[in-house]
């Protein structure tokens, strides 16, 4: 096991060295894919058989060797990493050669994430975490020498430094005895120390996972990178942050933590889910839409995590395991369909030449494979039965509904409110996915480039089909997959905790609710098929093609081959109802309407500027404060030599006086 992991990690380092030279990028990416598959293999072994106990490495900080281990929790997330990485890397190998810096940073990115997952002491974990941040930043910066992308990279790096430092502080308070996980478990923190740990971990890992209000970098940074990187960031990196959260909040502090620990997570998670789903309906860049949907899903997952903490704190182990199962399963499902969606978006961007929905449309005719995969992914993301997204969100909603079993009325009310918010987020996600599909793949092409786009072929198509097949598998076999997490659940909730699984169904032990994905899929297929047969038996006429009725509009003039572009709803137009009704929850919106003057041939226009409240209410004020303080500090510099001398003199005199005074007292 150790040899396998070590071989993969070393291989990654070697590949990054090869990547520096910029030669043979395909080799680099395929090699990374192999290494990622190796991780997946190790994870599978650890999940089915037994993992790896904490082992000391020859390298490490001066005061103690680094420890690595592979327990069920790590293995589960390592599996997620592999699930995302393999298709993404195949896609990368199928794409044109990137700049050398990217070829060098990509393996390091993978290695960093893997290091976080297998680390068994704080230093190694922090090392991997920072490596992950740094490499992913390099991946963004390498693509954007100038312009907005550069500012994005800067913002991302600043947030990365912030989360790293917060995690360091969190460990500092968590581990008075030593950084080894075993030592921390032996002496769990209590009282205000524990509370500080909670806050710092929420700041550190939370900002990495995109929790509000530290989500603002995510919708900018994830789309800025190359498509495979975006897939890895959205599918795997946020999960690594989630893993850190679980490790530091659920595992290391021990089971003795109070129930209220979950409440901040629930609140932040719900807010994040709402904001993310809302923004997903308003973005005008397909990859940004997907990044916002990542926010939504992370929000849901964190809500589940909070519920698990609440239930565990109030001694409702079965419910805690239910919520935890929802968390773990949704993490995996989201990895599957988000990778699929990002790769589809990348295929569209590279083949149809744009990421702006207003320059796409009607792609289903030209790229049926991509469209099919995208629909599958979108349906999963919209949590439609019987696809994978629904199974895990069913678990999550059930655990929210079960929130009333906690004796605290306040928690019951919070659960109800959260349920409402989560439901809203789920609805918004569905709306966003419909908007995405409708704008990109359905309707009429909006540009000639979109009308002439080729379909994905070769390895790119394989890279799309892989996660698609996986999502389908996860949809039907949700229960068996979930039973693999039994080890992790026992590890976190005690020996008698069980995954809410019975055979091929997901069940709630006492509440008697049950979801059988296979049955639903079967019945649905049956219903659709029978309906189709019946209808076709009664009416067998082949359909004919005519110009669209279009509510009576005249057919477009010949110089508009794809019809009148103005008579097809735009991205903003589709977002308008939601923007009007909910937009201001998450965004500061400025709408300006320029009406067409009588006799003026110009068309009337509506100009909408939106900015996330995270910027306007948090980041900008902080930046102003920082500027003011640095101006203060700078004022000290512009002094003459004699002032500086007198500063030294004053310090001396002050200290002398202080000593004299202290010796009196």
């Amino acid at each position: 096991m150790l040899t396998l992991l070590g071989a993969c990690l070393l291989a990654l380092l070697g590949l990054s060295a090869l990547g520096v030279t910029g030669r043979a990028p395909r080799v680099v990416f395929l090699g990374c894919a192999a290494a990622a598959a190796g991780f997946g293999l190790a994870a599978a072994i650890a999940l089915t058989g037994d993992g790896m106990a904490a082992t000391a490495l020859p390298v490490g900080p001066p005061w103690a060797p680094s420890l690595v281990a592979l327990d069920p929790l790590s293995a589960w997330f390592l599996l997620i990493l592999a699930v995302v990485a393999v298709p993404a890397l195949l896609f990368a190998a199928a794409s044109p050669a990137p700049p050398p810096a990217e070829g060098a940073a990509f393996p390091l990115f993978l290695a960093g994430m893997a290091a976080v997952l297998v680390a068994a002491d704080g230093f190694t974990l922090l090392l991997g975490f920072e490596l992950m941040s740094l490499a992913s930043w390099a991946l963004i910066a390498a693509r954007h020498p100038t312009g907005v992308g550069r500012r994005t990279a800067r913002l991302y790096l600043a947030f990365a430094a912030f989360s790293g430092l917060c995690l360091i502080a969190g460990f500092a308070l968590l581990a008075p005895a030593g950084l080894g996980f075993a030592a921390i478990r032996a002496a769990p923190p209590e009282g205000w120390r524990a509370a500080m740990v909670l806050i710092l971990v929420l700041l550190g890992a939370g900002s990495k996972a995109g929790l509000a209000p530290f989500h603002i970098w995510l919708p900018l940074a994830h789309p800025a990178a190359a498509t495979p990187v975006s897939a890895l960031m959205s599918g795997a990196m946020v999960k690594v942050a989630l893993y850190v959260m679980i490790r530091l909040l659920l595992d290391l502090p021990g089971p003795a933590q109070p129930a209220w620990w979950g409440l901040p997570l629930i609140g932040l998670g719900a807010a994040t889910a709402l904001i993310g789903a809302l923004r997903a309906n308003l973005e005008r860049d397909i990859k940004a839409i997907l990044a916002c949907s990542t926010l939504e899903n992370m929000g849901l997952i964190v809500v589940g995590l909070g519920l698990a903490l609440v239930f565990r704190g109030s001694d409702l182990r079965p419910l805690a395991s239910l919520a935890l199962a929802a968390v773990l399963l949704h993490a995996l499902n989201h990895a599957g369909f988000k990778t699929l969606l990002f790769l589809c978006a990348g295929a569209v961007a590279s083949l149809a030449g744009s990421r702006d929905p207003d320059r796409l449309g009607g792609l289903i005719h030209r790229m049926p494979w991509v469209a099919g995969c995208a629909m599958l992914g979108a349906f999963s993301a919209a949590a439609l039965p019987p696809l994978s997204g629904f199974a895990s969100e069913w678990l999550l909603l059930q655990s929210l509904i079960q929130g009333w079993r906690v004796a605290e009325m306040s928690i019951q009310l919070i659960a109800a409110g959260t349920l409402a918010v989560v439901g809203m987020a789920v609805g918004l996600a569905a709306a966003a996915m419909v908007r995405l599909l409708g704008l990109v793949f359905l309707g009429r092409p909006r540009t000639p480039r979109a009308a002439g786009a080729p379909d994905a072929v070769g390895m790119m198509r394989v890279a799309l089909l892989l996660p698609a097949a996986l999502s389908l598998l996860l949809a039907v076999l949700a229960a068996p997959m979930l039973s693999l997490t039994g080890g992790a659940i026992r590890q976190l909730l005690g020996a008698n905790a069980l995954a809410p699984v019975a055979g091929f169904d997901l069940v709630l032990g006492d509440a008697g609710a049950r979801y059988a994905p296979w049955a639903v899929a079967l019945l649905l297929a049956l219903a659709v098929g029978l309906t189709w047969l019946a209808v076709r038996r009664r009416s067998s006429l082949a359909p004919t093609r005519e110009p669209a009725w279009d509510g009576g509009f005249m057919p477009p003039p010949p110089h508009l081959p794809f019809g009148d572009p103005l008579s097809q709803v735009s991205a903003m137009g589709l977002g308008q109802p939601i923007r009007r009704s909910l937009g201001r929850v998450a965004l500061a919106i400025r709408e300006r309407h320029y009406p067409a003057m009588p006799g003026d041939p110009a068309t009337a226009t509506l100009r909408v500027d939106t900015e996330d409240r995270g910027f306007t209410q948090m980041l900008y004020p902080l930046a102003r404060l920082r500027r003011r303080l640095s101006r203060r500090a700078e004022a000290l510099r512009g002094r003459t030599l004699r002032i500086n001398l007198s500063l030294a003199f004053g310090t001396l005199v002050f200290l002398l006086a202080l000593v004299a005074w202290l010796e009196r007292g």
């Binding site: 020859p58 390298v59 490490g60 900080p61 001066p62 005061w63 810096a101 704080g122 230093f123 922090l126 090392l127 920072e130 490596l131 740094l134 910066a141 020498p145 100038t146 550069r150 990279a153 800067r154 790096l157 600043a158 430094a161 912030f162 790293g164 430092l165 917060c166 360091i168 502080a169 460990f171 500092a172 308070l173 581990a175 008075p176 950084l179 120390r193 500080m196 920082r626 500027r627 303080l629 640095s630 101006r631 203060r632 500090a633 700078e634 000290l636 510099r637 030599l641 500086n644 001398l645 500063l647 030294a648 004053g650 310090t651 001396l652 200290l655 002398l656 000593v659 202290l662 010796e663």
Partner: protein, 473 residues
């Protein structure tokens, strides 16, 4: 003659030689530094100890090694850099002689067991640096050098007074001659008069603190770094500050043994945090690349002061490790930025950009060095900061937020500048040239060493680190 003595005399000899025969001076300089490095390695491999005047112990041996490494790298770098200076014969001769002279003084300062000798050595080194800072004779250089001279002159004088007070405190307990010996003082300080010890530590703190660039005694540091030749900036940051910190550390080690004194650590913590925070916020306003690194030196000295102030074995370990890493990385950063400034024909931040695209090796080296200074892995500054945070969390948790704030503001400022210098669209180069091995070699070697310190420190060094921390705690 002991290795330690040889280590002091060899650079001295080299200085004399360089003063006498200036042609091919830079080669001779490199050779001498290389020989010094060999001696230093030998010294580290041998057992600690030595005669009365010079004593090699776990505390100063690693510092000697680092100093020799940085000195060797600087010699290699200046071989290329001085060529641009257009020095006349006299100044070139003076430059090289002064460099070796400074090295000799620094080794003496590190190795001497006698505080008085240490003081003399530091003063001599300072004077050498002052002259080399003034080497350019530009108004800015004169201003910087004069400030350097006056402030450090005052500071060093105060430090001497502190030493005298120490001697006075030890007078009733120690025989003549050895009342300035570090070991002897440490042995008897517990019985000395705490009042005098307090007084002594105040003066030592203010005196050496001025040289170490602790706020509010720091104002000479950035200008001195920016106006002198780049190699001098490298040794200033890499070596001189270590010497000063060692002085403070010795004082603390002596005074701290007496239970009745006002704990010296608290003074260090307060000054350290003031330094850290002020430098962190000032870093955001820098327009001059070399001053940026000067301020970052101030910030790191603040971190070191905090680490030593918090104390305990881990705290001192963190502080020492931070000193080592800072010397290596900061000198590397100065090599890179000096070379870049040469090629771009100016050391203003706005005049340097896009290094990674035009000179990948140099650009990525600088980027990594700055990332390391910002406390990112895999460099030893990251390790020491983690260790410091751990110790703070254990001993004084309420200081954590301040520490995190300082590190965050400083780190983001450095990363911000890093992206401006190394990425973006390249600025035009009046003097198009290749980076050259003379820069890349020391740059990457130092970075590699810093990474090794963080992840795979050789066992003897690790043992010395622990030993030194025990000695101090």
């Amino acid at each position: 003659m002991s290795l330690a003595a040889a280590l002091v005399l060899l650079p001295l000899l080299a200085a004399v030689l360089l003063a006498l025969l200036p042609d091919r001076a830079s080669r001779l300089n490199i050779v001498a530094s290389g020989a010094t490095l060999l001696l230093a390695i030998l010294l580290v491999l041998t057992e600690p100890g030595g005669d009365g005047l010079l004593r090699a112990d776990a505390l100063n041996m690693p510092l000697v090694l680092i100093a020799a490494i940085v000195g060797f790298g600087t010699a290699i770098f200046s071989e290329q850099d001085v060529a641009y200076e257009m020095f006349d014969r006299r100044r070139a001769r003076f430059y090289h002689a002064g460099f070796q002279g400074f090295m000799a003084a620094h080794f003496l300062a590190l190795l001497s067991d006698n505080l008085g000798v240490m003081w003399v050595a530091i003063e001599a080194g300072t004077l050498a640096c002052v002259l080399m800072v003034a080497l350019h004779r530009t108004p800015a250089a004169i201003e910087a050098a004069w400030k350097f001279f006056i402030l450090c002159g005052v500071g060093i004088a105060l430090a001497l007074f502190g030493i005298i007070v120490l001697a006075l405190a030890a007078q009733p307990l120690l025989g003549h001659g050895e009342q300035l010996s570090f070991l002897a003082l440490r042995a008897v300080a517990a019985r000395a008069d705490p009042g005098l010890l307090n007084l002594a530590f105040i003066f030592l703190l203010v005196g050496f603190g001025t040289k170490a660039g602790l706020v509010p005694l720091h104002s000479w540091l950035p200008d001195a770094h920016a106006e002198g030749p780049t190699p001098i900036a490298a040794v200033l940051s890499g070596l001189l500050l270590n010497g000063a910190m060692l002085g403070i550390l010795r004082g603390k080690a002596i005074v701290g043994t007496n239970p009745a004194v006002i704990s010296p650590g608290s003074f260090l913590i307060v000054l350290g945090f003031i330094t850290l925070l002020l430098a962190a916020f000032s870093l955001w306003r820098r327009r001059d690349a070399k001053r940026l690194f000067g301020w970052s030196s101030i910030e790191h000295m603040g971190i070191v002061a905090v680490a030593f102030g918090i104390g305990g074995v881990p705290g001192h370990m963190a502080g020492l490790l931070h000193l080592w890493g800072h010397s290596l990385v900061k000198s590397a950063a100065f090599f890179a930025i000096g070379r870049a400034a040469r090629m771009k024909g100016g050391q203003g931040i706005e005049s340097i950009a896009g290094l990674t695209t035009t000179h990948p090796a140099l650009g990525w080296g600088l980027a990594l060095a700055m990332a390391a200074l910002a406390g990112l892995p895999p460099f030893s500054l990251f390790a020491s900061e983690v260790l410091l945070a751990m110790e703070t969390g254990r001993e004084r948790p309420w200081l954590l937020p301040l520490l995190i704030l300082g590190l965050l503001v400083a780190g983001t400022a450095l990363l911000h500048a890093m992206q401006r210098l190394c990425f973006g669209l390249p600025t035009p180069e009046p003097i198009p040239a290749r980076s050259g091995l003379a820069t890349l070699l020391p740059l990457w070697v130092n970075l590699l060493l810093a990474a090794i310190l963080a992840l795979a420190m050789p066992e003897p060094l690790a043992r010395m680190l622990l030993e030194a921390a025990r000695l101090l705690a």
